[in-house]
């Protein structure tokens, strides 16, 4: 597992040390990777907690996520308040409405 995972990380070494500046179109594609990567983690983390899709009222992450988004918008660029607000909301909702 460690070896195959390391292989997936090798492009950092190969591209940073050898590759020429990429074509402008490739550069624009690479620029989109952070947005796409963050979105992939957020959507699956909120909509598929535990691995299966849960678009239902009992998925409390669906309520904690908008709280996190609002705090992230208001306090642009500050991680800790957004993480804290989202996590505390999820804990409180579970305590109030959880099984």
């Amino acid at each position: 597992m460690a070896a195959v995972t390391y292989v997936t990380r090798l492009p950092l070494w190969l591209l940073a040390s050898r590759a020429p500046t990429p074509h402008p179109v490739a550069e624009r594609v690479i620029e989109q990777i952070p947005i796409a990567a963050f979105s992939a983690i957020v959507f699956s983390g909120v909509l598929q907690p535990g691995g299966s899709t849960r678009l239902e009222a009992s998925n409390l992450y669906l309520y904690a996520a908008p709280v996190t988004v609002i705090v992230a918008i208001v306090l642009r660029g500050r991680l800790l308040p957004a993480i804290g607000a989202g996590t505390i909301t999820a804990v409180l909702l579970r305590l109030l409405f959880g099984p």
Binding site: T5, L15, I33, S39, G45, Q48, A82
Partner: protein, 238 residues
């Protein structure tokens, strides 16, 4: 080497550590959850910690534990790990242009530092402050925090994960999406970034539902990035 570059390099390590502290706080509960899961799957605490240290790839470790539970063969676990972690190639490709001033000898080691959290903090830093040198040092600082949090969380979880109340564990598990929401929000500035976000997010959810483990996020991230790049490369109308 003169004193100034050494000082700059050290300050970048420090910046990487400081800017990654919120991420580290968020990683501890996830490591805790993994340690507990590994413990319940029959792994000793030191084996679970070793796995976290040398694989250092949370999502694939959770999937591997699930496969261990179903009695899947080693070859299936290794193949699934590879596919699940292929997204790191995309992350590495996106970080590479910012690492051109890094000493070549360091890059093979730094490859191990490319994981979801450290990638997010480092690319955010690189895009926000392109004038700062030695992003490799920043990545190193971020790696130190993430590694300690992830492996430390795993050890705690394997030894004492069962004592965390369910409500707290449920809330703490939301820390990972919360971290990435906080990173994502400032990037959604226009129509193209919103389209990329929706394409990657919906594609990942659909892929997770209908494709083998790890394939969905990989295709969704690659596809959404190409879509965004293509939209930005359209000739503008006059």
């Amino acid at each position: 080497m003169s004193a100034r570059p050494v000082g700059q390099a050290r300050s970048e390590v420090r910046a990487g550590i400081v800017e990654s502290l919120p991420l580290g706080l968020a990683l501890v509960p996830v490591g805790l959850a993994f340690g507990y899961l590994a413990h319940t799957a029959g792994l000793s605490w030191w084996l679970a910690s070793l796995m976290s240290a040398i694989v250092y790839a949370g999502p694939s470790q959770f999937i591997a534990m699930g496969l261990v539970g179903t009695g899947a063969p080693v070859s299936a676990i290794v193949a699934t790990t590879f596919v699940t972690n292929l997204r790191y190639s995309l992350f590495a490709a996106s970080l590479a242009p910012h690492m051109r001033d890094a000493p070549r000898a360091r890059l093979p080691f730094l490859g191990h530092a490319v994981a979801d959290g450290s990638y997010a903090v480092t690319i955010d830093h690189a895009l926000a402050r392109p004038e700062r040198p030695r992003k490799d040092q920043f990545l190193l600082g971020s790696f130190v925090v993430s590694f300690v949090a992830w492996v430390g969380g795993t050890i705690l979880g394997a030894l004492a994960g069962g004592v965390v109340p369910a409500a707290i564990a449920y809330g703490l598990a939301f820390a990972t999406p919360a971290v990435f929401i906080a990173f994502l929000v400032p990037y959604i500035r226009d129509c193209v970034s919103a389209i990329v976000m929706l394409a990657a997010g919906i594609g990942t959810v659909a892929g997770n539902e209908y494709l083998p483990a790890g394939v969905g996020p990989l295709l969704a991230i690659a596809g959404a990035s190409v879509l965004g790049g293509a939209l930005l490369s359209r000739p503008t109308r006059r």
